[in-house]
Symmetry: C2
Subunit: 302 residues, 2 copies
């Protein structure tokens, strides 16, 4: 990883963690709903790269958006992402016991608390976006709200999760279809990553061309990132990654390495990264962090 | 039920159903995520009183808010309410097989689809509120967005559900504490009902006094409505109500009839209704529907 990228990732992760610790409800003065709030904080404030907030901040930097506001919007997107992980780990979904080296929320607390904590974290995401700290212009905040809703609803993340489950049920037919697997990943993880990039451009009140470029960049690196994740699942070191591996393959899940083969998927990810970097040509050096991040997505170890 | 109330409830329910049928995603052009969208529609478009949209429309009428915009905001609140029912019925939560005379979503589809459909319905609620059709003024839409988030998150509905679950775990101590049961109900169902009333006032851009009056009215009738619901659970006719009864008592759930006794709870609900109606004194005849609705909350049969 390049020095500037490493420093920026660390700094934005640190700032995001501090902001989230302030923004999330405080359990101390509460009654028995304390457990819910503790589970929400457990889900969000645990270890994590804060890659989506990083993308929002870096895309804002490329389009003249304010750094502090971008951190605020990034914190909202991180809450949305955290909720999706909590629900995705539930027994009725992926049934995962470990996440980022710690017990998943329904293991650390219980299933009902995990359902409610995920629900309340989604609410929190929209609550944070609607705050004036995100942007003084109400129209900008509303555009972010609409964008987050579209990226995470039935035509975005939730739709992708439904596709993923459908493939698992029907086994090999869909899981081996490359076009199908790409569509599933673009919805399941790509939509929110693209929105994280576009959100920076919305905050920078960038023109349509710049917004589309950042959205497209997000789609490309989102898919490259997912391929890297799937390759880790197949080839990674369990201790370093912090969760049980080779699980997707066992469950017959649709992945691109599974559908097209490991070497082909690696090559495809490289093509996506080059394509993503090319989309940033209109930005000059203000987008250097985004360029570095695209290249880094291929070298993930955890 | 009074004639004008019955007519208004039926008309608003009908308009809300038509609007929701248009606003919710269309399953026909979709791939395997069709099932998710069908489950969302099943959850929302089934039988239901549309009591929350009614309150929003009636509160808008009392404060000079636009009828069509209030229907739009009401549709968003109904999506939020529907998501909470889908998740509340899950095996890890209340574990209900029937809802409004039909199989619950996880019974009609499956558990994973029910989790995702609830998630996507919450997203849809915020998406609908952010649409210009809700109100042309972006600040009004943002106020509604913040309001819905606060009413439904950890300090509102989700917090109330967590309290409800906590009582079930620890049995009699909390369930028999009247103050505790009131707080739980105010969060679990009161917060969203109050917000449905306040939303009408926000759309009518009413002054602080009118907003507070409608919010307080919502709190009072929300609790009266819940007591009526709990009395139905204890004394109602299973076929007419459309779900299994006496379930809360068996589960050791905290209810006000359980905590204070049935005759006392009935008296308390009557006091709440009188108090709610008194809060409407500042509105004159424009609030007659709200007055009728308050009185009706005591006479529910289903």
């Amino acid at each position: 990883m390049s020095g500037p990228l490493q420093a920026a990732l660390a700094e934005i992760a640190d700032d995001t963690n501090k902001l989230l610790a302030e923004l999330l409800p405080d359990p101390t003065p509460l009654g028995e709903e304390r457990k819910l709030v503790e589970a929400m904080r457990y889900a969000v404030l645990g270890p994590g790269k804060r890659f989506r907030p990083f993308l929002t901040v870096a895309a804002a930097a490329a389009t003249g958006g304010d750094h502090t506001r971008a951190l605020h919007a990034g914190a909202a997107i991180e809450c949305l992402h955290a909720y999706s992980l909590v629900h995705d780990d539930l027994p009725a979904m992926d049934d995962d016991d470990m996440r980022r080296g710690r017990p998943t929320v329904h293991k650390e607390y219980d299933e009902a608390t995990a359902i409610l904590a995920g629900d309340a974290l989604q609410t929190e995401a929209f609550c944070i976006l609607a705050m004036p700290e995100t942007h003084p212009d109400a129209n900008v905040r509303l555009e972010l709200t609409r964008g987050l809703a579209v990226a995470s609803g039935a035509h975005g993340m939730c739709g992708g999760q439904a596709l993923d489950l459908a493939a698992e049920g029907e086994a090999s037919d869909m899981a081996s279809d490359i076009g199908w697997a790409i569509r599933m990943q673009r919805l399941k993880t790509g939509a929110l990553i693209s929105f994280a990039c576009e959100a920076g451009a919305i905050l920078g009140q960038a023109n349509g061309q710049a917004r589309a470029a950042l959205y497209g960049y997000g789609m490309d690196i989102g898919l490259a990132f997912q391929i890297a994740d799937d390759l880790l699942d197949l080839e990674g070191d369990e201790e370093q990654v912090g969760k049980r591996l080779a699980k997707d393959a066992e469950a017959g899940k649709a992945t691109l390495p599974g559908a097209m083969g490991i070497p082909e998927a690696r090559l495809y990810a490289q093509t996506l990264v080059r394509q993503a970097v090319a989309k940033l040509d209109c930005f000059g050096s203000s987008a250097n962090l985004l360029r570095d991040a695209a290249r880094f997505s291929l070298q993930r170890q955890s």
